[in-house]
């Protein structure tokens, strides 16, 4: 199953909109898209909109943890937006819900940036 990734420019940075399953097959695509944003630089924050993701495995989680660590190194914020219930379950199972900044909507995630 192919994952669709769209990058949108925001006032404070970029938002990645992901649609599809994020698994061992598709997580390299997510990692590449994040790499492009890091390469461009100049952003205060990266928002990752997960409203279109119905499945995420440990490779997807690992990609997000890497992105969070890269953001910390570069003084950027990483904010996750609109987690679907299946993805929220995976975060809880991995005990990562309190590690990431998670927001219910894009407007809430942009507040204070």
């Amino acid at each position: 199953m192919k994952v669709e990734i769209t990058t949108q420019k925001l006032a404070a940075g970029s938002m990645l909109l992901i649609k599809g399953d994020v698994d061992m097959n598709s997580s390299p695509d997510v990692r590449n898209s994040l790499g492009e944003i890091f390469k461009q630089g100049g952003a205060k924050a990266i928002l990752i909109n997960l409203s279109g993701v119905r499945y995420m495995d440990s490779s997807g989680i690992a990609t997000l943890v890497e992105a969070m660590q890269n953001c910390m190194k570069q003084g950027m914020k990483l904010r996750l937006v609109e987690l679907s219930p299946p993805v929220r379950d995976v975060f809880e199972l991995a005990r990562l819900s309190s590690i990431f900044e998670i927001f219910a909507s894009v407007s809430e995630a942009q507040a204070g940036l």
């Binding site: 399953d21 698994d23 440990s58 943890v65 199972l93 991995a94």
Partner: protein, 153 residues
């Protein structure tokens, strides 16, 4: 090559449902494994949340086979057998790659936030028993067992 072989007996009479699926060892077929599992788990009586946990665990086990047993070679096969009995669900995954070293397989400390290493934790969270049988001539037979909740009347 994807083979799907089903043997179905009368569930109401306490019979057993067994499904066997063989997929190539390419990550793009993980979706096929997940898609095959969901209706069987719902039919076996698992609620959606438990079904999702089981699917995640089996997906992680298949990913581990691709990564570690086959070292990324997409031309091999993984055979999944799902047995739905009255009191338990059993998922077996057969590979013909490098044998698993069960002494080295352990869930990592979740307090240590870092990329990777969650698959074993997901398997242990979803199933009651996880057994690696390396007494095969070639490869490993992984057995994942989950007891069904008994409803007391």
């Amino acid at each position: 090559m994807i083979q799907d072989r089903r043997r179905k007996t009368d569930k109401a009479g306490g019979g057993k449902v067994q499904v066997t699926l063989t997929v190539p060892s390419h990550p793009k077929y993980l979706y096929v494994v997940r898609s095959a599992l969901y209706p069987i788990l719902v039919d076996a009586g698992f609620v959606r949340k438990d079904a999702r946990k089981i699917i995640l665990a089996v997906d992680e086990a298949c990913s581990n086979i691709i990564k570690h047993a086959y070292e990324g070679d997409p031309t091999k096969t993984i055979t999944m057998t799902i047995a739905d009995d009255a009191d338990r669900l059993t998922v077996q995954l057969r590979d013909y790659g490098r044998k698993a070293d069960s002494a080295k397989i352990a869930p990592r400390n979740l307090e240590d936030v870092r990329p990777g290493g969650l698959g074993t934790h997901f398997m242990g969270a979803a199933f009651d028993a996880v057994t690696y049988d390396t007494n095969q001539e070639q490869g490993t037979l992984l057995t994942l067992e989950k007891k069904k909740r008994q409803v007391n009347i």
